[in-house]
Every structure is written in C-alpha cells, then in structure tokens.
Amino acid sequence: AAAGPERPQVVSHIQQALSYTVFDCKWVPRSARLLCLGSAARGTGLVQLYELHGARLELLREIEKPKPIKCGTFGATSLQQRYLATGDFDGNLNIWNLEAPEIPVYSVKGHKEIINSIDGVGGLGIGEGAPEIVTGSRDGTVKVWDPRQNDTPVANMEPVQGESKRDCWTVAFGNAYNQEERVVCAGYDNGDIKLFDLKTMSLRWETNIKNGVCSVEFDRKDINMNKLVATSLEGKFHVFDMRTQHPTKGFASVSEKAQKSTIWQVRHLPQNRDIFMTSGGSGSLHLWKYEYPAQRSKKDSEGSEMGVAGSVSLLQNVTLSTQPISSLDWSPDKKGLCVCGAFDQTVRVLIVTKLNKI
C-alpha cells in the first residue's frame, strides 16, 4: 500500500442538507451539475438539479413527480440529449427531458413493484450498439427496454411459473464491446447473482454468495467483460475475474470483508478501472485497488481454463455519516470528484486526491 502522505485522501468538499430522503445521486455528464433523486415526506418523488458553485451547491431546478423515485441513469441517452431515465416506487420507468420535464419522453409501467435498480448502456458516446435500459424490481423480474420501442421490454428475465419470486436488488450492463454483445448481471436478495447473455438470450452463469446482493457493477460496460464487483449484506464484497469462465466452477473471485454492516454501493472510477469505492451502512466509504495476479488464468487438472483472482488492497477509508451512504457516483469528467447521498438526508460532494499517483 502507498505510504501515509502519499495515500489518496478523501476530502469532503460540500455538504448539502436536503429536506427529503435521497435515494440516488448522479452527475450530469459533461457538466459541473448533479442530480438528486428521492422521496419527499408527503410521498411524492423529487428530482433536484444542483450546480457546483464555489463551496456550495446551487439549486437550479426542482421537479416533483407523483411517485417517489428510487433510481436513475444517464447511461442510455446521447450526450446531446442527456435524458434521465428513472425508476420509481410504483414500478414505472420514465425517461425525462430535464428541460421540459412535465411529460416524460418515454413512459411504461414496467413492473408490479418498486424498481430497485436501473442501468443504461449505449449512450453518452460510450460503446456501440442500441441504447438500452435495464430495470430490476422487487417483483423478481429483470427487464431490458429500448427507448425506441414502447410498452414491451426487449428482454424479460422472469421467474419460472410457480416459482416463488425473490427481490432483485441490483442490475448492471456489461460486455457491450460491439453491436451484438451485451450481458446483464442481476443480484437478488437471496444471494443469487445471475449473468444473462442478451445476444443468445440465455443464462450464462449464476452463483450464490450467501448474503443478499446489494450492488453489482462491471469495471467497464463497454469492453470485453473484465471484472465484476458484487457487494452484499454483512459487509462483504466479491471481485470476480470475468475473463475466464470455467465450465463448472464459473468465474474466479476474491472476497473481502470490509465493514460490519451492509455495503450498499460499489462504483468504479471512470478514469481507472482498477480503483473502486464501496459505501457502507455505517456511513463510511472505502477506496480499493485491485491488483491482477501474475497469470490471470491457469489450467485445472482436466485441462480446462480457469481464472485466477488477484488481490484487493485498501487505499483509504473515511467515515462521513452515521447513516448508510446509499448512493455514490463518480464524475466522468473530473477525476476524483464524486457525489454521495446518505440516509441522513445529506448529499456530499467529495474529492479524492492523489489518484494520479496510484
């Protein structure tokens, strides 16, 4: 690990108290603006647009919607349009033009219950292929939507008839390195992680990590899938090496028990895919670096290739709040700038220094 004064420092730049519960916060791409999505006390949804202004956040716009909003993404929109896709407590997927937010650009009642997690791919000038949005819901289904097709999803991962459903808590796109390839990874409350291949429309891999899966993320969406981090309850997270899939053992992984409490989110640094930050139920943030092993794959006794997991080292950790930090987002434009939202109704803008030296 790096020596004391050379370690990255997490500097808390701005703290903004909000009058509502914030569930998700996102940077607006190509700008110094951020969005906070959440639920007001009277049970309506709120979207607030802030801009960085010196040592404080200036509220530019506030949009209120009938249902509380749980999650949002810019992942499937073009850089010019920068439409926000949101999932709300009622299972509605909406895409909003923030300049004209009265009527959504796209709207569908995608799920019977709350949409817990949303991700988008194919937008923002990253990667290739159709823009798509994936939503995971408490009704146990994971659905992929194309904003050009109304009402029906282009892929639906639902429980077998008669099977009791489990909550899907998190979804993520990956492997979108050309126009055809794409995978969706979903994590459920019973510890299942499932990898769906959208090109072949089949289940490519599944495993169970023995604790409810709170957050999954590929290190990059738009490359041949490299690493996947899955965080769970009881303070654990697993890093899977996704380059080599063994026919029976699946993907190699290394796991780390970081905190005593739930790890709510993991987010990779957009500018360096081996650095990621985890946010915890104890209000702390941990910054990690993954180191690759000398050889990423080896042959097992029968001659099939299996992956070799590397190691994870803690670069820095800091406790910012007494309540869980439930959402985290790195700015894609300024290295080290990130925003996090916690259940103490505060959104914080942080700057992580010395990331160039890693």
Binding site: S31, G54, Q80, E99
Partner: protein
C-alpha cells in the same frame, strides 16, 4: 517487663546533642526508634530505652545512626542552649505520661500531614502531565487539520478552474457550431431534400433553441447524430429468459449470520408437526420416516398421482393418526375418496379440512377453494345439487377468477332448474 537500657552516654554542643546508646547485642532497625519533639524511645523487645528530653528538639532534621551494636543519635536543639541534663530530672509520672502521649500524637499527626502532602504533590504532578499530553495532542491535531485544510483549498481551486474551463470551452464551441450548423443546414437542405422527413424540421427548430440554452454540450451536429441513429441496430427481438432461484423459505434477505437461527427454526417447526397424538405402543413398529406426517403426506401424494388411490388413503390415514391437525391431509384424502367414489367420506374429509382451515386468510385460499370444490363435487354426485351449488358458490367467492368453477356452477344451476321444472 522490659529491660531498661541505661548505659547511655551523651555530650552536647550549643545546638546539638549527641547521644550514644549501646544495644547490648540486640539488633536495631529504624522501626524500633521513635522520636518526638521532646521524647525519645528505642524499643527492641525486650529492651527498652526512653528519655523525656530536657528541651524540645527538631525531630525532622535529627538523625540516628545504627551500627556497631550502638545507636548514635544526633539531635538538633530547637533553641540553642546548654542543657543541664539529657532528660528532665524532676519529671513526675503524670507529666512523663502526658509527654509520652503527646509525642505519640504529634508523631501521628506529622505522619498524616506527610501523606497528605505527598498525595497533593502526586495529584499536581498528574495534572501537569495530563495537561502536557493534551497540549501535545492538540498541536498534532491542529497540524493535521491544517494539512487537510490546505489540501481542501487546493482541491477546491482546481475544481473551480475545471468548471470555468468547461463553461468557456462550451461557449466557444457553441459560437463555432452556430456558424457550422447554418452552413450545414444549407448544404443538406439542397442535397437531402428527398430523404428528409417531417420529423427533421422540428429537430432543427429545437436544436437551435438548445444551443441557446445554458446547458453545456460537446456534441456533434444534429445531422451527424441522426446519421448515427441510422447506424444503430434495430431494437432487439423480444424474448424471455426463465429464471430459477436458489430456494429460500423465508421472504427476508439471506444473511450468513442468521442462517444457523433459521435452520433451527425450521427444524423446530418440523418437529412440531410430527407426532402430536402420542399412541406410542402402536407406533413403535414404524420406521423413523413413517412417523413423520409430512413424509407420509408426500408418499400419499405420489400414490395419488400414480393412480393408487387405496394406497394413498392408507398413507393419509396413518398420517392423520400421527397428527390430526394438518388440514392438507384431510384435503388430499377427500380427493382420494372422490376418486374411489366414497362420497360420504369425501364430504366428511372436506368438511374437516375446512374446519382446520380457519381462520380464512389469503394464505390458505387455494386450499379452501379445493375443499369447497371437492365437497361440492361429492354432493353433486350424490345428487344433492343445492348443497353442491352452495359449495361451488363459496369457492367462487374465494376465487372469482376461476373459469372452471364458474362453468361447473352454471352446469349445476341448470341441473337444479331442470329437476325443478320436471318435478
């Protein structure tokens, strides 16, 4: 009786008295010597020496040296004067006693004072040490705070710089773009008029207004974006992937630390469902699994599925004997009896099942529907159509969306109307 030591010798100066006391072989330690202001005692059992001094001495500074079978006292007089003798000659017993006690008391007091003083100095030392450490820690903390503050300011400045750069860059780009865009619009209008559809024109309009808005943009011109849209693949062909979950009985999320508790709970539940009716004498011949009503129920279900209705009934009978509080046993046995055309028994069992299925909650909805349907069927086969219809209607009430039940209920109504008409 103590042995008095009397062979002492002494000499004096103006300020001091030197007393030499031979010990006659006894060994002396400092504990044996007791010295007050005007009273001196050496007690080495059984030897004893005491002297009420002629005048007070300074007992804190006086010294006694033990050695050579001798104690050598150096006593400093409080007032420099020559003493007539070492001890008070004309002291009577009472005065002696009084002086003695006084001396002892004074010694005690002195000892107390000394400990007090020691305590106080100790406390002060501690306080001082504490304050010193606090200062040092404070200094350290401040140093770290300063470092952090400097870092923060540096970083904040960088951020402002980056933000302003972004804004300026955008303004410049937008001015450029406006020029380019006009030019491109002209070109494309000429070249692509046929290809342009109605949707393009509103796009142009909105793009112009968008350029005027304050939101930042990097972007290509809208036309290149539309071209790119043509290169995007069509939306995927819709498909469904069926998912199986790792089974979990509890609706809550899985936590490793709770797994042990959960297993125990399940185990206890299973135990509770086992032998409720203890008829131990008959049950001794049964195998372990045969004593488990759940296992027997599964056996019965399998036999029913294979068509072995009598076997199934036997299994259910045994299960009921073990535990007659499980509604599903009666429910399934009713189904068997229906197949065997034991209609009265079927009605009995369905009724018992319904009894056990109180209170009527959403969880046992499907079971109650089945019970009503089976009883209804039995009634109808006994040609008791009104009772049968009652049961079917009860079933419909619970599950109004079931088409089969509706159809059957209709049929029964027709039958009733038919018989009424004919009678």
């Amino acid at each position: 009786m103590p042995v008095w030591l009397r062979e002492h010798s002494w000499r004096q100066t103006l300020t001091a008295v030197y007393l030499s006391l031979p010990l006659r072989g006894a060994r002396a330690t400092p504990a044996n010597i007791f010295c007050g202001e005007q009273y001196l005692k050496v007690s080495i059992p059984p030897f004893l020496f005491e002297a009420v001094l002629y005048a007070p001495i300074d007992d804190t500074n006086s010294a006694a040296k033990i050695g050579n079978g001798n104690i050598f006292f150096t006593l400093y007089k409080k007032e420099p004067a020559m003493w007539d003798s070492l001890t008070l000659a004309n002291a009577d017993k009472e005065k002696l006693q009084y002086l003695r006690e006084n001396a002892v008391l004074k010694a005690h007091e002195k000892a107390k004072e000394e400990t007090e003083a020691k305590k106080i100095t100790k406390q002060e030392h501690k306080k001082y040490a504490l304050e010193a450490t606090m200062k040092v820690e404070e200094a350290e903390r401040k140093r770290i705070e300063d470092l952090k503050e400097r870092e923060r300011q540096k970083v904040a400045k960088e951020l402002e710089l980056w933000k302003n750069q972004g804004k300026d860059g955008d303004k410049y780009k937008s001015i450029q773009k406006k020029g380019e865009l006009h030019h491109e619009i002209e070109q494309l209008k000429d070249g692509k008029r046929e290809k342009m559809n109605k949707t393009r024109i509103p796009n142009e309009g909105t793009s112009k207004t968008r350029l005027k808005s304050t939101k930042g943009r990097v972007s290509c011109s809208i036309f290149s974006q539309n071209l790119r849209e043509e290169q995007l693949p069509a939306p995927r062909a819709a498909a469904t992937i069926k998912v199986n979950f790792t089974p979990r009985v509890f609706p809550t999320a899985l936590r490793e630390s709770r797994v042990a508790e959960e297993e125990e709970w399940l185990h206890k539940q299973a135990e509770a469902r086992r032998i409720i009716n203890s008829d131990l004498s008959e049950l001794e011949d049964l195998k372990e699994e045969e004593k488990n009503p759940d296992w027997l129920k599964d056996k019965g279900n399998k036999m029913f599925a294979m068509g072995n209705y009598l076997g199934a009934v036997n299994a259910y009978n045994l299960a009921v004997r073990l535990n007659n509080k499980l509604p599903l046993l009666f429910l399934n046995r009713a189904a068997c009896h229906l197949k065997l055309r034991n209609l009265h028994k079927a009605i009995e069992d369905s009724s018992k099942a319904l009894e056990l299925l109180t209170p009527p909650v959403p969880d046992n909805e499907s079971a109650r529907v089945k019970a009503h349907v089976r009883r209804g069927t039995a009634f109808c086969q006994l040609e008791l159509y009104t009772e049968g219809l009652q049961d079917y209607e009860a079933a419909l009430k619970i599950d109004p969306k079931n088409k089969n039940i509706e159809k059957d209920a209709e049929k029964i109504r027709h039958l009733i109307q038919g018989t009424m008409q004919s009678s």
